[in-house]
Structure formats: C-alpha cells, structure tokens
C-alpha cells in the first residue's frame, strides 16, 4: 500500500519537476516500473553501504591487531611502567628458644590504619572518618606527621575485612604493616636475648643474642610485583611473587629458662 502511494507520488513529482535523472524509466500508466527501479537502486545502494561498513570493520580489526599483536610489547611495557611496582618483603626473623625448647623471643606483625592529607578534589576528612567509624567504633585520631594521622593501631582480622570496602572508596586511607619483636618479660632473659631495632622495615639485633646471631636469625628478603590503581593503591588479586623470602633460622640458647628462674628464687 505504502509503496504504491510512494510510487504514485514519485511519478507526479517526476512529471512536475522534469529533472529526475531516471525519469525516462518511469511509466505514466503504472507504478510498477517505478517500483522496480527503486528496488534496483535500493539494492545497489544497500550494497554500497554494506561495503563501506565492511571497510570500516576491516580498519578496526587492523587497529586491534596492531595493539594486541604487532606493537603489543611496546604498549605493554609503557603500561607496566605506569602501573607495576616491585618491592621487597622482609623474611620472617628466626625465633630464639632456650635449651628446653621454651620460646624466648619472636616477631609479631601488626596492621595500622592511617589517613593522609586530602589533595585537591578529594573527599573531606570528616566524611572519611565517619565512614571508618561506621566499621571501627573505637578509632582515635592521632597526628603522626604534618600530613598524616593514625586512626587505629593493631587492627584485628575482623576490622581488616570490614575496612575493605571503605578503603576502596577513599584513596586517603592507608593500611601499613609493622613488625614488633617480643621477648619474655623477665629482666635476665631480656638482657641475654638482647635488644632490636627496626631498619627499613626489617628487625636487626643491637645487643645480646639478637646481635650475636643476627646473621642467622635474619633471612633473605623476597621480591614481589603488584599492580597499582590510578590512586596508587594495590589492586586486589594482582600481587605476584617474584622471589620467595628465605626465613631466618631459629636459635637455641645454651641455658634453660627453668634454671634461671630457680636461681632467681634461690637468690630471693
């Protein structure tokens, strides 16, 4: 029906204008030849359109091939320079035992939550702290440096899990790990085992057995690779081990804790 109307209208317009290129092909008595001409022209124009789209398609496939295969290495390297970070992780320091196998010194790892100064365009502190307080009720704000605040020291595993979505929302939040060397609370043990200090994140002995056996207790640091997002935060699941850490060896002291305690008792 519409084609018939169209063809008749077309015939009239062709007759009126007398300019249409294909006018000689139109019949004045029937719309059928006009329709046939339209169909032929339509088919050829459709083929032209499809050819154009196909050519465009080939162009996109060519570009895709260039980036995924031909020049892949160069772009991969550029991207990795921007996003990949390599770092060392400290090997677990060896423990110190007495002659009877009683643990005298060991290392504990803690995770602390920090907030850094908001940069231009970042979300205000109050909003971030409110979001943190929603998951950690007892968070306290202690100024550490001019541009950073400690919100919570020694986070529990439950708090770490609860903080995950909050960390993803606010780039100013940072969780840092911290190592602490612990010894048995006994003055003589503390003297014999000795003191430690933390240098570049690693525990180093400064006196007593910790100093004497430092090389044995300290292991070899490992190396990792991690991808950072545009806010320079680690991307979940992108951490990859490059070189494993070799843990420090345990040391056994020649004395026994029980003997020391007995001596102390006798003296008293």
């Amino acid at each position: 029906m519409f084609t018939a109307v169209y063809a008749k209208r077309h015939l009239k317009s062709v007759q009126a204008s007398g300019k249409f290129k294909l006018r000689e092909l139109y019949s004045e008595t029937s719309f059928e030849p006009a329709l046939e001409i339209f169909m032929k022209a339509f088919e050829s124009r459709l083929i032209f359109l499809l050819s154009f789209l196909l050519l465009w398609c080939f162009l996109t496939v060519g570009a895709l091939f260039y980036y995924t295969f031909w020049a892949r290495e160069a772009y991969l390297e550029m991207g990795q320079r921007m996003a990949l970070r390599y770092g060392d992780f400290v090997a677990p320091r060896g423990r110190i035992f007495d002659r009877d196998g009683v643990l005298l010194a060991w290392t504990e790892k803690y995770f602390d939550l920090y907030l850094s100064e908001p940069e231009n365009g970042e979300i205000a502190h109050e909003v971030v702290i409110q979001a943190v307080r929603a998951v950690i009720a007892d968070c306290e704000i202690k100024k550490v440096t001019e541009k950073s605040w400690l919100l919570k020291a020694a986070l529990t595993p439950r708090e770490l899990i609860a903080l995950e979505p909050v960390m993803r929302r606010f780039s100013g939040l940072l969780i840092q790990n911290r190592l602490e060397r612990k010894t048995l609370r006994h003055p003589e043990i503390s003297r014999l085992v000795g003191m430690t200090t933390i240098e570049n994140g690693a525990v180093t002995g400064t006196s007593g057995a910790e100093y004497h056996f430092n090389d044995v207790l300290t292991g070899t640091a490992g190396t990792y690779e991690v991808m950072l997002d545009r806010h320079r935060r680690w991307i979940n699941g992108s951490w990859r081990l490059i070189k494993p850490a070799v843990p420090g060896e345990d040391v056994t002291m020649p004395f026994a804790l029980a003997d020391l305690l007995e001596e102390q008792k006798n003296e008293e």
Binding site: T3, V5, Y6, V14, F42, L46, T60, Y67, Y75
Partner: protein, 370 residues
C-alpha cells in the same frame, strides 16, 4: 517461501541479539568485578536483556501499519521526551540526558532512536529526490538532533546524523545535495572545535596522547594499554585489572577495550563477526520486505546500529577520538539495550510479508526473473 525467509532471518536476528546481550553481561561482569559488588551491574544488565527480548517480540507482533499510521504521535512523544529532559533531567558526566525514576535512569535519546528512523522513512518518500528531500529530512531530523545537541551529547548526534544520511541514501536521494550537506557538516564541526575547547582538547589528546598522559591523553592511553594487556588470547575473565582500575567507564563507553583485555583479540573478533552478520541479516530482511518504506527502515536500522557499534569500536581501538558512545546490546545501560530491541522488533514487523497488490507484484516479478 517468503514467510520461510522472513521467519528464518527474524529468528536469526533475535538469536544474535540475545547472544550478544549475554556476551555483554559477561563483559560487564568482568569489567566491574573488582568494585566489590560484581553482580550489581551484570545482574541488572541481564534483567534488561530479558525485558528487551520481550519488547522485541511484542514490537515484532504489532503490524508495521500501526507504526506507520502513528508516526506523528511517536514524533510528538519523542520531541516532548527530549525537550523535557533538558529542565527536568539529571546531569551525568556533564550531560543532562537522563530521567531519574527512583532506581532507574532512563535516557530518552536512546529510546526514541527507532521512532526517529520511522519518521524519516515515512516522510522521505513524500518529497521528491534532491535538495528539497534532504532539507525536509534535515528539518525532521532536527526535532531529535537539536535537543540532543543541547544536552550536550555529540556522540549520539553523530549516530542520528548517520541515520539521516542512510535513510536519504537508501531512499534514492541525489548525491550532490548529500555531498554539499557533508561539506556543511564538516564546516560546522570545525566551528564546534573552535567554540568548545573541551572538544578541541579531546582531539589534541587523540593525536598525541603522550603529550598530556594524565589529562586529555589519559583515556586514549588506557585503551591502548588495556588492549596490549589482552594480547591475542586475553588475561581471562576476572583478570581484567586494567579495565577495572584504569579504564574510565569500562562497563559502558569502554566495554570493547575491557573485553579485549579479558578475552584478547581472539575473544572480540567473534563479537565483530556477530555484528557483521547481524547487519547482513537485516539487509537480507530488507531485500525481502514488501514496500519501500519498510525496506528503507529495516536497512537503515541495521546500518545505524552498525555505525554506532563501529564508532564505539573505533574509539576503543583508538582510530577515533573519544565520543562517549555505548556498544549496542553489549554495553551496560537499559535504555540503549531496550532501544535496540524495540528497533529490531519494528524491523522484523516491517519485514512481515503482507498480502495485497504490492506483495503479489513482488512475487510475480521474482517469478518472471527466475
């Protein structure tokens, strides 16, 4: 015979759209899984896909005469929807182009796309070929294009302009006015480049992304790095870290690059092939449809979908500057998906064989040829 052809190609079109839609759900899932709620976007997209399939079937069941008869009503509805979004719509990514209906965001410029083609096809055949036809069609197109340009959404304007050119071309329009109009379009575009600094900056970033890697070149570089990471075989689902953490709008405007990172070249070539086959199927339907208006609508709808897909892919493979266009059916967004399904439904309806003089004449002419 004609019924068989129509049925076969219609089922094929619906099947391809469904497969592409499912592929899109996976792509959206992969591009957003590190966000913490991996099924939020993908789940919604799946719901939209199912709604879209229902819309396709419903639109295909409505006779094409209904659309053709009510083209004026559809045009007025489109105009009202596009004008009302300017004062009442919400602004997202610098564009005021969405209605906020509770949890839903509706983009009218996407939904009214099939009605734009319907109106153009309907009126194109009423005006004789040449300048008058092109000007009449441009005036009709302005009803859609001007409000969309005011949002401003130049990517969608480009797709509508492509639709206008395709309908004019397929309706047998003369070439000279088209070339003159294209020249005018290029001059206007240069004017936009000079008047709108952000458009100019996009071009600068496109030609030399390394000059401003953190600014105008950022988007282009992220596309390139994401594709390079994907390589030939991809990083696999769930390992598209670049798409999740660097690519802006990886589930909508950058979904092709996000898919390339996850599946590699081998995984996205089938998507391009499916699109190519979809356009071929629309062309086949168009060639077997009764009547000029129907033929033009089917072919132009297929062409417009192809142009939008190709612009999206071209932006993602960095042979075109960023435009902010989604990949039809695959990108996250209910309005775009629904519009494609409605359009495909109307195209299938247009291809439905009808009885009557034209149809019988078509059959007769074919028999004579054989």
């Amino acid at each position: 015979m004609k019924n068989d052809i129509h049925f076969k190609w219609s089922i094929l079109i619906a099947g391809i759209l469904f497969v592409l839609g499912l592929w899109g759900c996976l792509a959206v899932y992969s591009a957003t899984m590190i966000e913490g709620v991996p099924f939020y976007f993908a789940g919604r997209q799946l719901l939209w896909l199912l709604t879209g399939m229902i819309a396709l079937v419903v639109c295909a069941r409505i006779p094409f005469e209904f659309y053709s008869r009510n083209v004026m009503v559809l045009t007025v509805i489109s105009l009202l929807a596009l004008l009302a979004v300017l004062p009442f719509g919400v602004k997202i990514n610098g564009m005021r182009g969405w209605y906020s209906l509770g949890y839903l965001l509706v983009q009218p410029s996407e939904i009214v796309k099939p009605f734009f083609l319907l109106a153009l096809c309907h009126f194109a055949l009423s005006v004789k070929s040449g300048w008058s036809r092109l000007l009449a069609m441009a005036l009709i197109a302005a009803i859609w294009i001007v409000p969309i340009g005011l949002q401003p959404d130049f990517g969608t304007v480009a797709v509508y302009a492509a639709g206008l050119i395709m309908v004019y071309w397929l309706s047998g329009g003369a070439v000279k006015p088209l070339v003159s109009m294209a020249a005018l379009g290029i001059i206007s575009f240069c004017g936009v480049l000079l008047l709108k600094p952000y458009v100019w900056r996009r071009f600068e970033g496109f030609f030399n992304p390394q000059a401003d890697p953190l600014g105008s070149g950022w988007h282009i570089l992220q596309f390139q790095f994401a594709m390079a990471r994907g390589g030939v075989s991809g990083m696999s689902w769930g390992k598209a870290y670049w798409a999740n953490c660097y690519l802006p709008l990886s589930h909508s405007d950058s979904v092709f690059a996000a898919m390339t990172e996850a599946l590699g070249m081998a995984g996205v070539i089938p998507v391009i092939l499916l699109f190519a086959f979809l356009i071929f199927a629309f062309s086949k339907l168009a060639l077997h449809a009764d009547g000029a208006e129907r033929r033009i609508f089917i072919a132009a709808f297929g062409g417009m979908t192809a142009v939008q897909a190709l612009i999206h892919i071209s932006v993602n493979v960095t042979i075109m500057p960023p435009t902010g266009l989604t990949l039809p059916v695959l990108s996250y967004g209910g309005s775009s998906l629904l519009a494609t399904m409605i359009g495909a439904g109307i195209a299938i309806s247009a291809a439905t064989p009808k009885t009557g003089i034209i149809s019988s004449w078509n059959r007769k002419s074919k028999t004579q040829k054989n």
